[in-house]
């Protein structure tokens, strides 16, 4: 559970695959075991920022350190969950997927199996250990992805709109589950979303980004007690305030 320091990170360039949504002069400090949501309109570079923190992209300027150590590439101190269900390896069962990181780490088998099963239990999938991903629903696949990212015990969990492709009901369940998992594991979490209610439900702090240039506009602290009630007046007030921050964006849309 490490703190993260992001200092003056910028990245604006063309790749063969097209232009990356740039980020300019982003600085954020995140405490150990803090849950931070990054919200912003599409094109604000929030996913780019997450990919920089994950080490998949190198920033043009600035630097990021996790627990005092500068980030130079991908590393096992971070677990990553993407939006795309296809992130799971189809040729491995749920258990095989969750074991992958442990295998890479060199954890031997009885132990590896035990940890992987434990992680699947944490996301309430203990009955589906031997299922292949294509037999699982979208929500279950994302839960496997979360278990997989937690299994090798990284100190930081990076999540890129992991529930955006789920239906509303499943998404609510998943948010509750993630809040529980976080309470139990106390990982430092950076969670990218464009869903305001989701951010208010999950985050200790919400970083609001604006587009053109992609930079931090404001940071909002959410002081609501947990577990949070999305129907309470305080919750709705927070949501309104956050909407207000987002609403001043160029196109006036919340997402």
């Amino acid at each position: 559970m490490q703190p993260i320091a992001i200092r003056d990170v910028s990245l604006n360039y063309d790749t063969p695959g097209g232009k990356v949504q740039g980020v300019t002069n982003v600085s954020i400090d995140i405490d150990a075991s803090e849950f931070v949501c990054i919200v912003g309109p599409s094109g604000c570079g929030k996913s780019t920022l997450l990919n920089i923190i994950a080490g998949f992209l190198a920033p043009a300027t600035g630097q990021i350190s996790i627990g005092g150590k500068p980030v130079t590439g991908h590393g096992m101190d971070r677990g990553v969950v993407f939006q795309d269900f296809a992130q799971l390896f189809p040729w491995r069962t749920a258990l095989g997927n969750v074991s992958f990181g442990l295998e890479m780490k060199g954890v031997a088998n009885p132990e590896r199996d035990r940890i992987a099963r434990e992680q699947l239990r944490l996301v309430k999938l203990e009955k589906f250990t031997d299922s292949f991903p294509h037999h699982l629903s979208g929500g279950m696949q994302q839960r496997v992805a979360i278990a997989r990212a937690l299994a090798y015990n990284p100190s930081v969990l990076l999540m890129d709109e992991p529930f955006a492709a789920l239906d509303a009901m499943t998404r609510d369940d998943m948010q509750r589950l993630l809040a529980d998992v976080w309470k139990e594991t106390r990982k430092t979490v950076i969670y990218v979303t464009h869903n305001v209610a989701e951010a208010v439900y999950l985050a200790d702090r919400v970083v609001v980004m604006s587009a053109h240039p992609g930079t931090v506009k404001t940071v909002m602290k959410i002081d609501l007690p947990r577990p949070r009630d999305p129907l309470s007046v305080e919750f709705l007030d927070c949501q309104k305030e956050l909407m207000g921050h987002l609403g001043h964006n160029t196109n006036g849309a919340a997402h």
Binding site: A54, M76, Q87, F89, P90, H134
Partner: protein
Amino acid sequence: MQDAVTAIAIADAAPAGRGAERWRLAARNIFPFAVVGTIWEIVAWAGVFPHRLFPPLEEVALSFVNLTISGVLPHHTIETVLRLLGGFALAAVFGTAIGVMMGRSRRAEDILLPLVSIGAPIPGLAYAPLFLLWFGLGNFSSVLLVGFVAAFPVIFNSWTGVKAVKEIWVRSALSMGADDKRLFRYVILPGALPYILTGLRLGLAQAWRILVAVEMLAAVPWGLGWLIFGARKFLNTDAMMAGIAVIAIIGLLLEKYVFQKIENYTVVRWGMVAK
């Protein structure tokens, strides 16, 4: 030939659960053959064509049995299958290696792709005389040619397969601490497997199609291609058709029992291709 599989799969796709249902299905599948067989018999017995050129089916069956008992047909078959396996093994090993290399390294792709693209549009058999000229008549040339021709689909598909491995798998594996070697073994190879299998299957089909003709041209002493070609000289149409029947059976078995089994066990089970 890829398509043949689907045909077979669909022909017996209906769940063969209850007995009556199964009989009905079998009858339905046999019926067209019975019709064609009857027409054949009528034409053969009517004497429209010379008897030697158009033998009735029972004579074909008889000659099939006789040739099998005497060991001639099995000998031809074994030689052919060995050549097929030899050529296909060459294609599988070198084709996959080259294709994967092209998919992994930009440099290898730049260097090899033009060479492969020039060789590919020429029908394989057109190389046959050249190979026979260079490497002489016989086994060596035939196996080499079969391997050479079968390698093209293997190369193309493994190359595409490696390039089609999802970026998100690579990223996930990297974030979980996979190094280059393990990334290749645990992610890229299984990720590219549907394509590699398709390539192997097309390669085998290709090898099979060409081998029969190669055996006719390469003057090998044994082999099904040689059997049917040689039978022509003595107007042994019945032996020829027995040989063709074996060729058809092997083709079917290769499709249905070799590749379909492998696919069912791997990529179909993983949900990477639709059944």
